[in-house]
């Protein structure tokens, strides 16, 4: 067996090009242009000095003219920039006011709904999360963190909130629909964990709300390149498992066919025939680790996330 690194470097070294003449020519050209620039600067300095000496003459009035034009131009540019900034500020205020107005409008009925129907049926959490949605969206604006992915997430959150609380009297009708969505997204990620906690599969707690998305920024930093949809799925699961801030992610490894047999059914059934099952371990700031399973074909797709219980 041969050492790949050494062999490959030797191979490249054996075919090194001779670039010295090219570099030497480049250096000469640079030095020549530098010399030319110096000459031009000397000429410029001389002409300025000539102007200064001629300043007392009547012709100096003409010489001053360009300076005045430059000043006027500068003033004009500053004014234009000022106008643009002012317009942007007005637009920002208007957009935020509209959002805030919409937010309070959405919050009231769903909060009422939440109070009225609290504990009465499984849709409590849905109404609660719908109330949280605009509040969270505003909060992220307050922090001034504007990122493309956040905007996309915000849009998704607002969409969810709209779905859940279309208006008074409609909340109850839409709640089961949202529950159905939730149960669909939850079945494959934290079913095992929920069963451990004694929660039945059909006992839907509702969508976790925009709090899910607090993990997205962090995940996009430490796991660059993942699709937004995948990040959202992982974030939802992390929220569900009450994970802290994710501080570490292990290297990805493929789970062999044999190892797959020991995994829960939702993992086994969550991957397609031509997909590879990839495993990574996430660690949060509390030192708790999470097993993340993703399916890989052209890109990574979320399959499942489990909290690793420490056994002593």
């Amino acid at each position: 067996m041969m050492n790949l690194e050494i062999e490959y470097k030797n191979l490249i070294d054996s075919e090194l090009p001779d670039l010295w003449s090219k570099i030497e020519a480049g250096v000469d050209a640079y030095e020549a242009s530098k010399k030319d620039n110096n000459d031009v600067q000397i000429i410029k300095t001389e002409s300025i000095e000539e102007k200064k000496t001629a300043d007392t003459s009547e012709e100096s009035v003409l010489n001053d003219k360009p300076v005045l034009i430059r000043k006027a131009k500068r003033k004009q540019t500053i004014m234009t920039i000022g106008k643009i900034v002012a317009a942007a500020a007005v637009l920002f205020i208007v957009v935020n006011s509209v959002r805030l107005f919409n937010g309070t409008k959405n919050m009231t009925p769903s909060a009422d709904y939440a109070n009225d129907t609290a504990m009465a049926d499984g849709s409590y959490a849905t109404a609660e999360s719908a109330a949280e949605a605009p509040a969270m969206a505003d909060e992220s604006d307050d922090n001034g963190i504007i990122m493309e992915s956040e905007e996309a997430v915000e849009a998704m959150v607002e969409e969810e909130a709209d779905d859940a609380v279309p208006g008074e009297g409609m909340a109850e009708a839409s709640a089961p629909e949202t529950d159905a969505k939730n149960s669909e997204t939850q079945t494959y990620n934290y079913k095992g964990e929920r069963e451990k906690q004694g929660i039945k599969a059909d006992e839907t707690e509702g969508i976790n709300g925009p709090d899910d998305y607090m993990y997205i920024n962090r995940l996009s930093e430490i796991m660059p390149g993942l699709e937004l949809a995948t990040l959202v799925d992982i974030s939802k699961s992390l929220y569900e498992l009450k994970a802290g801030n994710i501080v570490e992610v292990s290297e990805a490894t493929e789970v062999s066919e044999q190892d797959r047999k020991a995994l829960p059914d939702e993992v086994k059934t969550g991957i397609g025939n031509n997909e590879k099952l990839i495993h990574e371990t996430l660690t949060d700031d509390k030192g708790i680790t999470y097993d993340l399973y993703m399916a890989e074909s052209d890109e990574m797709r979320f399959v499942a996330l489990y909290k690793v219980e420490k056994t002593e």
């Binding site: 067996m1 041969m2 050492n3 790949l4 690194e5 062999e7 490959y8 470097k9 191979l11 490249i12 070294d13 054996s14 075919e15 090194l16 090009p17 670039l19 010295w20 090219k22 570099i23 030497e24 480049g26 250096v27 640079y30 030095e31 796991m223 660059p224 390149g225 993942l226 992610v249 290297e251 990805a252 493929e254 590879k276 990839i278 990574e280 993703m294 890989e296 890109e299 990574m300």
Partner: protein
């Protein structure tokens, strides 16, 4: 090259003496070329960028902080130049990369005459082994081994998940192992 020797070369450059640059060129051409080639994966581009690197070194010699690990500094500058080039000409670089793979393949590249027969066989074998990799795998192997980059850096530059990078690298290493090459990392 020691820090002192490098410092002396820089002082020569600042005095307008090209022999300072020539000494650095002789000492680090292979090192810089490997890093650049590792990132761009294209011979002609790597030659251009390496040439530009040494010209830039001449131009910015007065800004170099002497005595603080010049080798790492040179590697960082070379890598950044290659990455900049790759970002500017991403499409062309990738096209030419795959064209080399499909049309000619590294097997057909000329081997230096100075090599012994044994080395030539070895080189051809390595080229053959590399030609069995997919273009995407070879790019990651180049970046990791020649470009001396981390998986996270590769993922960021190629804009793909780090899991995909590590996976492709491992696949490539497995293929190369079958050809008799192992990777210590």
């Amino acid at each position: 090259m020691t820090e002192e020797a490098f410092g002396l070369c820089i002082r020569k450059i600042l005095a307008g003496d090209k022999s300072g640059l020539k000494e650095i060129y002789d000492a680090y051409l292979g090192y810089i070329y490997r890093i650049v080639y590792g990132v761009v994966g294209h011979k002609e581009d790597a030659e251009d960028i390496t040439g530009e690197f040494f010209i830039k070194l001449w131009q910015t010699a007065d800004k170099i902080n002497l005595g603080s690990g010049h080798k790492g500094y040179l590697a960082t500058v070379a890598r950044n130049m290659a990455i900049d080039h790759m970002r500017k000409h991403k499409r062309e670089v990738l096209d030419s990369f795959s064209a080399t793979e499909e049309d000619e393949g590294p097997v057909n590249e000329p081997v230096s005459e100075a090599n012994t027969e044994a080395e030539v066989i070895e080189n051809v074998a390595l080229k053959e082994a590399l030609s069995r990799l997919k273009p995407a795998e070879q790019q990651i192997v180049n970046m990791k081994i020649l470009g001396e980059m981390t998986f996270a850096e590769i993922a960021q530059i190629l804009n793909i998940p780090m899991g995909t990078v590590t996976w492709r690298y491992r696949e490539a290493i497995n293929k190369l192992r079958r050809c008799g090459y192992y990777d210590e990392s």
